[in-house]
């Protein structure tokens, strides 16, 4: 446990030091890479609540990532054209204020997770994977065929959205926002994992009959976890769209869902900071191997195979040893 905490601290320190160094030597591209890591890690921290604690292998988290992205895209595009989103029965206008966009993204993703979860959590195993995948694909095709917001081409935002007192166009300041939200989400999941709710959710993954026999409903526990999980991934989606100043249906694609799962597997399933390690490794590989070969995904595939076969605890598990039941 001690050792895992040290590794976690080192990871976060690394994620902080690299962009600070890049800022000092004026390498904005590296700051952007680190921001990507923070945002994608945040998306995976969301999924990790459902997958790591609850054992729910959702292949549809792109749905929440995309909803977060489109929440940002829709609000900001209306704000930049001064065209209200709706006028009747009440006037709703767009906004360029990040915290407002985040709240909308989180609520919209949570609502979607409530509906998708309520329907798909009736199944389990491969069926659950397939149904969540199907919901993700539904939203993907919906986004493609929705001309009001760019359809297949997506939506561009001219300037990044605003955050009170900060200059979000400065890469290091935008990184700071994303890093702070990641740290907050990690703190939240640590509390969650140790709470009575986390204890029961973790038990429902291992032995649902027992959870029922003590008077708790595994379905409700999982649904609550799925909603929290989707909400956090939705927040990451809004940040990701803001990073690129662009949203497109690709955010909804099953490849996106797959990548979020890959971060967790690479980092170590059920490890609190696994998503950070996984996303950092993934982006680093993408960056360096991507330069060497267009087929870098093949290397990634081999690496995944190696993790699944030989290092089931992923990066964190390999470095920290077996998971200790926390006391």
């Amino acid at each position: 446990m001690k050792r895992e905490m040290l590794i976690n601290a080192a990871l976060m320190a690394g994620l902080l030091v690299v962009p600070l160094w890049a800022w000092a030597v004026d390498e904005p591209f590296t700051i952007t890479l680190a921001t990507r890591v923070a945002i994608l890690a945040l998306a995976a921290v969301g999924l990790n609540i459902a997958l790591g604690i609850g054992g729910l292998v959702s292949l549809g988290h792109a749905a929440f990532f995309g909803i977060g992205g489109y929440a940002m895209g829709i609000l900001a595009s209306h704000a930049q054209t001064y065209d209200p989103i709706m006028q009747w029965p009440l006037l709703v206008e767009g906004t360029k204020v990040m915290p407002v966009i985040w709240i909308v993204a989180v609520l919209a993703a949570a609502l979607a997770a409530l509906v998708i979860g309520a329907l798909s959590l009736r199944t389990s195993g491969v069926y659950f994977i397939m149904i969540t995948l199907a919901f993700g694909q539904m939203l993907y095709f919906f986004a493609i065929s929705w001309p009001a917001y760019g359809g297949e081409d997506g939506l561009s935002i001219y300037v990044r959205n605003d955050f009170p007192l900060l200059n979000t166009l400065d890469p290091i300041q935008f990184f700071a926002i994303c890093f702070a939200l990641l740290a907050l989400a990690l703190w939240f999941s640590a509390r969650l994992a140790a709470s009575p709710f986390g204890l029961a959710l973790n038990a429902a993954r291992q032995t649902p009959q027992r959870v029922e026999a003590v008077g708790l409903s595994p379905f409700r526990l999982r649904l609550a976890a799925f909603v929290l999980s989707g909400a956090i991934t939705g927040l990451a989606g809004a940040l990701f769209a803001d990073l690129n100043r662009f949203v497109s249906p690709v955010m909804f694609s099953w490849q996106t869902s797959g990548e979020i799962i890959v971060f967790i597997i690479l980092g170590g399933v059920g490890r609190l900071y696994g998503p950070v390690a996984g996303a950092a490794l993934f982006i680093t590989l993408e960056h360096f191997l991507g330069e060497v070969s267009d087929y870098w995904h093949i290397f990634l595939g081999l690496l995944l195979l190696a993790v699944v076969l030989f290092a089931r605890g992923g990066v964190i598990g390999t470095l920290a040893g077996r998971k200790v039941a926390h006391d």
Partner: protein, 249 residues
Amino acid sequence: MTEPVLATHGLTKRFGAVTACEGVSLDLRPGEIHAVIGPNGAGKSTLIGQICGGIAPDNGTVSFLGRDVTGLSTAARARMGMGRTFQISALAMEDTVLQNAVLGAVGARGGAFSLFRRALADSDLRQRATAALERVGLADHAATRTAELSHGQRRQLEVAVALTLAPRAFVMDEPMAGMGSEGSKRMTAFLDELRAEAPILLVEHDMDAVFALADRLSVLVYGRVIASGTVEEIRADARVRAAYLGESA
């Protein structure tokens, strides 16, 4: 006669061509241990599944504390006070012994919707869990991973989790299965005292334990109750001897 705490009325359950339970009616009264015995495949676990929820009967009803609970979920029955132990230990193997007991305490509290307080730092939950572990003799193993417990210790933990619920009735599926004779004896002594707290419906294979503990016995063969009565009556019953106890007399 006192009102039964728990009763089944004509429970019938078929799995395709197999009739696992047929018209099973039995009850559990305050302060007693009612043992259900029968050969393998007689339908004992199916009976327990219908009593505790999880298996819906084709016919018949279950009443608990004077209420028809046939349509209620397993969790709802547990919240009413049904304390179940499983034939095959159903425990969170990756978690510690204490965490498993705390899970029971969380259930006893009526919900797990506290997202922020640390479960193991909650003195209420912890006390309730530790008290149950002490009673079954597992307090020294509180910090042990459940996967590292011996088979017998897991059976004890099963009982401890049920104890945290302070149930109104215990429903136990072979609590002594696979225990050594020493463990069996200790569990027998423990259940002997436990019946004063809440009556126990006890499915058990260990005949020594059953004959030592049971106030009443029901014998299940091919899903039917072929005899029901005191230990003496059952021992004397010719059909039971033919069908189950074997012709040793």
